[in-house]
């Protein structure tokens, strides 16, 4: 494969640049929040991660449907890539959320609706990749990954509502209102930064998967010459 500048490298570099700018504004330019103080600055990476994790899981769901429909290796690679990148963002999301909980509520974990839902989401999609790793035949692996992704994604809204009801007797934790314009700006910038980075990651991951598929895709052996016998036709 030739080493040329590919479209996805552009996304990667742009994402990296935006992430630096957004984080700089979030850390040093934006004012501290009224009640949360400096801690609120975690939001500038936390919320973009959350938005993008959801978006990418949704992409995985859509890719899975297309993959099941078309049986094309390309869509299977995209499904896997989206699921894996979603899991990475989801894991980061949980760590940030945990730090946020420690800073504001004094505990490392709080059964907050969104935090709990994202933990369950992580387990759901980790299960998909676990199942995938156990299937050796490529066709079946693609089908089963798609099926498990669809089944897992459909569960997300159910889990969300369920956790909300489950918690309804407790008070709902308030999230800081981002009113100052200098708070909205880094949030937006970082949202796009992480989206672009995620696109780069998905492209890389999908390429890895496609390359693996190609390795498996051994050419049909040469046609052997018939060795005599009589033809009845």
């Amino acid at each position: 494969m030739t080493r040329q500048f590919k479209w996805d490298s552009g996304f990667g570099l742009l994402g990296l640049l935006l992430l630096f700018i957004g984080s700089y504004i979030g850390l040093f330019v934006a004012p501290a929040e009224r009640y949360m103080g400096e801690v609120q600055r975690i939001m500038y990476v936390h919320v973009p991660c959350a938005w993008n994790a959801m978006l990418i899981y949704m992409l995985a769901f859509i890719f899975a449907i297309v993959s099941l429909w078309t049986h094309r290796p390309k869509w299977d690679a995209m499904t896997t890539a989206a699921a894996e990148v979603g899991i990475v963002l989801n894991a980061l999301l949980l760590v940030q959320g945990s730090i946020w909980a420690r800073a504001t509520w004094g505990v490392w974990w709080d059964w907050d609706v969104r935090l709990t839902t994202s933990l369950i989401m992580l387990l759901l999609f980790a299960g998909v990749l676990a199942l995938r790793s156990f299937v050796h035949d490529s066709g079946r692996r693609a089908t089963w990954t798609a099926i498990a992704t669809i089944v897992a994604f459909v569960d997300v809204p159910l889990v969300y509502f369920c956790v909300r009801w489950w918690r309804s007797l407790h008070q709902v934790q308030s999230t800081p209102d981002t009113v100052a314009p200098m708070m909205v700006v880094p949030l937006r910038i970082n949202a796009f930064a992480i989206l672009f980075l995620a696109i780069w990651m998905m492209a890389q991951r999908a390429r890895v998967e496609l390359a693996r598929g190609r390795q498996e895709n051994v050419a049909e052996p040469e046609r052997l010459a018939p060795i005599g016998g009589s033809s009845h036709d």
Partner: protein
């Protein structure tokens, strides 16, 4: 109509197998009872605490036993590849799926009449007949919800070496809504339901069951395209 009769043939066959292999059913039941017992050791002999957690423990025992029952139901199919023999017949895969799912639901519902009284006694909870009836209804919904994705995943993992690990790994996070719905509503019935919230939890259980019965029915034929 033939879809229905094919599905019912599968159910009848499974029930017959379950009846012949009573040992399996009894083992799963005993497993459930043992779990109930273990939970009470985890909380200690504090009876107020136990009573408060009784609903949760009952549902957890059901959930833990369910994976055993689900993987058993496909071990029987794989032993001499009987399922392939069924797939070779002109049977609609959808009939096969709903037959297996229904028989798994029935199997899980069989657990309730044994586990509930044991749990009630162990955790010293009082319950009138009406409560018992409501509880049974809720468990039916929970069993239906569990077995829909459970049957799909049990079928998919039935030929993989690590089924014992994979099935719970896939199933447990997925059925958290069922778990929560069943735990909450069971607890409300056992400890009183002043704000009559049981109804909304039952709705949640029913919606989960409906969504996954339809979704997995659509997906199952794809899953077994190349046999199981």
């Amino acid at each position: 109509m033939s879809l229905l009769s094919q599905a019912m043939t599968v159910v009848r066959k499974d029930l017959l197998l379950e009846w012949r292999g009573k040992g399996r059913l009894i083992s799963v039941l005993l497993f459930g009872v043992v779990t109930l017992l273990l939970f009470s050791f985890a909380v200690g002999p504090d009876s107020t605490l136990l009573r408060a957690a009784a609903g949760g423990f009952l549902v957890l025992a059901l959930l833990l036993s369910s994976t055993l029952g689900l993987s058993e139901s496909f071990r029987v199919e794989q032993e001499q590849r009987a399922i392939e023999g069924l797939l070779l017949l002109p049977v609609d895969p959808i009939a096969l799926y709903y037959g297996k799912t229904l028989s798994n639901t029935l199997f899980l519902m069989l657990l309730a009449p044994v586990l509930t009284p044991v749990g009630l006694i162990l955790y010293s909870v009082q319950l009138d007949l009406k409560g018992l009836a409501v509880l049974l209804g809720l468990w039916t919904l929970a069993a239906a919800g569990l077995s829909a994705p459970g049957t799909l995943y049990a079928a998919m993992t039935s030929r993989l070496q690590s089924q014992d690990v994979l099935l719970p790994l896939l199933l447990f996070p997925l059925v958290i809504p069922v778990l929560m719905g069943a735990v909450k509503s069971t607890t409300l019935i056992l400890t009183g339901d002043p704000m009559s919230q049981v109804g909304s939890w039952a709705t949640l259980l029913a919606s989960f069951a409906i969504i996954y019965w339809s979704l997995c029915g659509l997906l199952f034929p794809h899953a077994i395209e190349e046999g199981i």
